[in-house]
């Protein structure tokens, strides 16, 4: 797949902060590309430079091999982290307003169906729920039938059900062959949706690759969770790779059988034992020593 967007040595300085510190990467046509990192990592600044909304201090962004020109605005769709809409307009009128900014685009009915907005078209846009509002913002980003779609933390603040519904929509959009650039601080979201990711921290890229490959590269183990109370008899036998996480201890192990046998030998009750695979949250912790949402 050819690159649709290429970022080279991007730097952005604000008076007191270096928000983006010499990063380079490229996004391939048709993929879902994730940009992960905690708040303040530089994701939004990077993505806004890629969108042409913010100017870079140094570095370049090329779209389809060329510097960004007027064509870029017509061919991309953008959903910002937070956007207010014009007051007193219905969903249909808001879609109509944005549709008229572009020479070509999707039919309103098709767009409403894709974003599950058919039942709300005549509702005042201010009266939508959080999930409905995010779907409207997605529809606005898709109104011109873009080849490249930027989604900046689209599910922040949504309840779990609305978030899962939104992920379904992003999969549908991806299935239409569109390239999606997604920034998020939900690792689960990136793991489920993204073909490739970069993880950012302090304006730099600290890891890059396919989520599963990254995980396999950094972790060959699984995590066993036990309540503190149950684990107490065996604590002396586990000197390494044990972490206290709330009411639980987490034991990292590459050999689950051996670990369970050891626990049984200390008569540790296993009725509350849970085994979980490593997550991107763990990876971030491993790479930075900090929790992602800290």
């Amino acid at each position: 797949m050819p690159d649709i967007i290429e970022v080279s040595h991007l730097v952005k300085h604000y008076p007191a902060v270096k928000a983006v510190d010499d990063i380079s990467f490229s996004v391939r046509q048709g993929e879902c590309f994730g940009m992960l990192g905690p708040n303040g990592a530089g994701k939004t600044t990077t993505v806004e430079i890629m969108e042409g909304i913010t100017s870079a201090t140094h570095g370049t962004v090329h779209y389809q091999g060329e510097p960004m020109g007027p064509r870029f605005r017509s061919e991309v769709g953008i959903q910002f982290q937070s956007t207010a809409l014009q007051d007193f307009l219905t969903v249909r009128e808001t879609l109509h307003l944005f549709r008229n900014f572009y020479p070509r685009g999707m039919l309103l009915e098709e767009l409403a169906k894709l974003c599950a907005l058919e039942d709300y078209l005549d509702r005042d846009a201010r009266k939508l729920s959080g999930g409905q509002r995010q779907r409207l913002l997605l529809a606005l980003a898709l109104v011109n039938d873009p080849v490249l779609l930027f989604l900046d933390e689209p599910t922040t603040g949504l309840d779990p059900q609305a978030r899962h519904n939104f992920w379904g929509l992003i999969r549908d959009v991806k299935a239409r062959g569109k390239t999606v650039i997604l920034t998020t601080h939900y690792m689960e979201e990136a793991y489920l949706l993204c073909d490739r990711i970069i993880i950012m921290d302090h304006g730099r890229i600290i890891a890059e690759g396919k989520p599963a490959t990254l995980m396999a590269h950094h972790f060959q183990d699984a995590v066993l969770q036990l309540p503190h109370e149950d684990f107490r008899p065996a604590r002396g036998a586990f000197t390494e790779k044990v972490m206290d996480v709330g009411e639980y201890v987490e034991i990292s192990t590459a050999d689950i059988n051996a670990t369970i046998e050891l626990l049984l030998s200390y008569r540790v009750p296993l009725s509350h034992l849970q085994i979980r695979a490593r997550t991107l949250e763990d990876l971030f912790l491993e790479l930075t020593g900090r929790e992602l949402r800290a």
């Binding site: 207010a84 809409l85 007051d87 009128e93 109509h96």
Partner: protein, 340 residues
């Protein structure tokens, strides 16, 4: 380009018309002010007789005229005899005395003015001087006739400055402008749509208030409606452009509110909404002339009260057009989509 402009224009019109409270206020407030002032001033006869003196530049005290020593009469000096005659016609002055040639003094009174009649009787008691009588006639201009253009202009000013300036700052602060910037919409298309939308709506509102107020108090309108419409359109456009200029970069509603107040309050008092600037120091009148509302009101009053046409108010029209171009150019040049 025109499609994008029309899309923003239509959306903005819907937003304005559906905001019922603001729309109602735009219509009701000016009518309430005019009615209130009408009640306040319609019954109260002014305690003094007002006599204008044209002395050809000589101080009144140097004229040694016995009539000028009569008590309970306010004498004031005028430099333009034609404009002073119009004031007598409209009952804004009870009498005009031309004393520039002491050997052939003239006076003007309005045939239908009771105060003019009484003053004439007093003047005829002067044995030493023979005055030549000049009579004029015309409908009396009440304070409310003079006030109507002022209140309509003030309503336009608030609607233009705050309705455009404040709204754009709010759009910028809440990120709506940033979202628009992510589309192919250009700043000039957005700005033009804002100007057009506000202009159409404020003109419709002003015409409605004009008709409504006329039905309520029956004010004076002697000039060309075309000239009045033209000065109103240019006045509104210049003030919308001024609102845009203020809103071009500001991202804080508080700062925008402060700046807009800083402009609107001096205009309220210096542009002659409530009181005429005649008699104020010349420097103040020169300073007031740079305010768009002053030019609008001068033009509108010249049309409504003095029967002026387009040609007579051309200086006001040109001044307003010049201000519009200047404000729009500066506004478009410095316009920022988003808050840094």
């Amino acid at each position: 380009m025109i499609k994008r402009f029309l899309a923003v224009l239509h959306a903005r019109n819907l937003e304005f018309v559906r905001d019922r409270s603001a729309l109602g206020w735009n219509i009701v407030l000016p009518m309430l002010i005019v009615l209130g002032m009408w009640f306040l001033f319609s019954g109260g006869e002014q305690p003094l007789f007002k006599v204008a003196i044209f002395s050809g530049g000589k101080p009144l005290a140097s004229l040694h005229n016995a009539f000028l020593e009569t008590r309970f009469i306010q004498y004031y000096s005028v430099s333009n005899i034609q404009s002073a005659i119009r004031k007598v016609e409209h009952d804004q002055s009870d009498m005009l005395l031309d004393l520039h040639d002491p050997t052939h003094p003239h006076y003007w009174v309005n045939e239908s003015s009771p105060k003019g009649y009484i003053l004439e009787k007093i003047l005829s008691g002067e044995k030493d001087v023979h005055y030549t009588r000049e009579s004029v006639s015309g409908r009396a201009i009440r304070y409310v006739d003079w006030l109507v253009p002022g209140v309509l202009g003030m309503n336009m000013m608030f609607s233009c400055l705050f309705g455009v300036g404040y709204v754009i700052v709010r759009y910028r602060k809440n990120g709506f402008l940033k979202r628009l910037n992510a589309t192919p919409l250009k700043a000039v298309e957005f700005i033009a749509a804002q100007v057009a939308s506000r202009l159409i709506l404020i003109m419709l509102i002003t015409i409605a208030v004009f008709i409504g107020t006329d039905l309520l108090v029956g004010f004076y309108m002697s000039g060309s409606y075309l000239a009045l419409l033209l000065v109103a359109i240019l006045g509104a456009t210049s003030m919308i452009s001024l609102g845009l200029l203020i809103a071009a970069r500001v991202a804080s509603e508080e700062l925008a509110g402060g700046l807009l107040n800083l402009l609107s309050w001096p205009m309220m008092f210096l542009s002659g909404v409530w009181f005429s600037l005649e008699g104020t120091p010349p420097w103040l009148q020169r300073a007031a002339a740079i305010l768009p509302l002053t030019q609008l009101l001068e033009g509108a009053r010249a049309v409504m009260l003095d029967g002026a046409g387009v040609v007579q108010i051309l200086p006001n029209l040109l001044a307003l057009a010049g201000m519009t171009i200047l404000f729009l150019a500066l506004g478009a040049f410095s316009f920022k989509w988003k808050n840094d």
